[in-house]
Subunit: 348 residues, 2 copies
């Protein structure tokens, strides 16, 4: 990617030089950030609000493939997958720390591209980068992000508080990130067989972007506040709809009925899944990486949320003994199982 | 290490099974921990105190060598190096998140050993493990830790606040972790050449332990409070004394004089350095990984700190133009340079 450009070798900079270089343009915007990069620890102050903390690690070869992942998108995504966890608590994300391990053979320009995506995500979502660690890696690229956020205690939404009769809602549409990944993997194989053939992603922008550059659904949190609806339980869809609703039901000690025909699937996702001989519903249930929000709301809030285009009502919570079921389009009842993404199987 | 034992393969457990298995014995002890592992984010509440956040990543082949690093020690050390950053702010560490990337070929028993060390460190230092991420790694073992702590605003000690005339102090002794590493590396080579020869670390426990199982100096923070001494600036010694004092001086816009004869070096460190043909002072200045605390105090506090065995006074802060100098035992003046550990060079 950088073969025709001048390279700056990381050894010349050293770790402190690199940190200085990468952080020189940081602008802190959060009132709660007292001290950012540059000491042993950042200093934050949250005025007695509840603090939220989450962390996610992305490893080359497991979570991303540099053959088709632009570094700027990767940096952007690394932040989004973390922000998504804070929004899934109904909180406001405010700060991130970013640790990067990379080969010393990476030119500085590559790391800069990665950080461009990181800073863009921080800018777009009004989050401060307050610290981190950079180190050499003998193996692949490693990105570890910790995100901090806050919320009033009364606003926090957990996973274990869904009640019988609650409506199950999901934002956006599902299965796109997974079908986008299938497409990218296919074009990679085509390219390996014949490097003269250009990747054919024509007209598939939407699902490719779902995979490479997801957006955490802060807008849904804002919308729910506007509608004066507090979800009874919430989780983000990182491992697939089935895995996530099972988390909510198991932790709430409840069951659920999901309706296949209600699961939101974009036409491009549907069509591409079919091209690959995949069942679009399975892509939505088990594909993962959509970073949508799955939440439950009281039936009493139905009037407030009906006709909203930003999310779909896809089922309801039942008592525990009724189990977790998918009602298919042909009216069959299937028990839901989490066949979501298993990082350990994926690595074999 | 596990060849004669039954192995539990990580694929059988899956990520959620593994998290559940590894976190089932967590006991939360911090009043500020509202919700730990088990939701999208942990929930903390620090009653309006200032929150401190720091993060450090350890990568196999860069920061540790599994040939001679017991996994339990590695887990312990991964926590210590993070706690050390909070103490270096004069704060109290309260929570950690731990993300682990590892090969799916690792047996569960190995991960358990790693976590045993993590939990032991958390227990010993009264810190809650509140979340994290576990994932497969196609390459080596990856450990990323984020630590949270707190402090009253008036107690926080930064790096950039040293004043001319302040005394420079360092806890414990320096260079031990580095000479311990030399010893371990030598015995590894001996073992590779002839696996029948057992490692000869007889009588070298102290420096081997300095390398493999460092202890963050919470006791020094407690002692300084007891003495009613607030340092004017502080940093932990992770990259070597020279690198750290240069951070303090550069950020405070000051110079310093350090006295070689005052630098605390354990006799075993001294003797082992000599065996390897190394200058013990250089090991202390550039070796790193000692995780001692380097701090400056007002001259007015001298009576409070003199005769304390837990730390040494090794020099004083000067005006910026005087530069950063080492006064040798033979009374020569050398300009201090940071030849500390460079992760990017180390990886070549």
């Amino acid at each position: 990617m950088f073969e025709n450009q001048e390279r700056t070798h990381l050894e010349e900079l050293g770790e402190f030089g690199l940190i200085k270089h990468l952080t020189k343009n940081i602008k802190l915007t959060q009132k709660s950030t007292i001290k950012g990069v540059g000491d042993d620890a950042a200093v934050l102050d949250h005025d007695g609000k509840k603090l939220l903390v989450s962390t996610d690690m992305l490893l080359e070869g497991i979570h991303f493939d540099l053959a088709y992942t632009p570094l700027k998108h990767l940096g952007y995504k690394a932040i989004q997958v973390n922000l998504s966890d804070i929004y899934a608590m109904n909180g406001t994300a405010s700060q991130v720390t970013v640790s990067i391990g990379m080969s010393s053979k990476f030119p500085l320009e590559a790391i800069e591209e990665l950080y461009e995506g990181i800073y863009l995500a921080c800018d777009n979502y009004n989050v401060d980068l307050i610290g981190g660690d950079t180190t050499a890696s003998k193996q692949g690229l490693v990105i570890s992000v910790t995100v901090l956020g806050y919320a009033d205690e009364k606003d926090i939404v957990y996973r274990n508080t869904a009640e019988e009769g609650d409506l199950i809602c999901v934002s956006g549409d599902l299965g796109g990130a997974y079908t986008g990944l299938q497409l990218l993997e296919r074009e990679k194989l085509v390219y390996i067989e014949n490097p003269n053939i250009q990747p054919d992603l024509e007209g598939k922008d939407y699902i490719v972007e779902r995979q490479l550059k997801p957006e955490a659904r802060k807008d849904i949190i804002d919308l729910l506040k506007e509608l004066d609806v507090k979800p009874t339980a919430m989780i983000d869809v990182s491992d697939g709809l089935a895995s996530e609703i099972l988390h909510i039901c198991k932790q709430s000690n409840k069951g659920c009925n999901l309706y296949e025909e209600k699961i939101p699937i974009d036409p491009m996702t549907y069509e591409t899944a079919r091209e690959f001989g995949l069942d679009p519903t399975v892509c939505a249930l088990s594909g993962g990486e959509d970073y949508e929000l799955l939440f439950t709301v009281k039936q009493a809030d139905y009037d407030k949320i009906k006709h909203k285009m930003d999310f779909s009502i896809i089922g309801y919570i039942t008592e525990s003994n009724a189990g977790c079921n998918l009602i298919t389009k042909s009216n069959n009842v299937h028990t839901l199982t989490a066949q979501g993404w298993n990082a350990f199987k994926a690595s074999e």
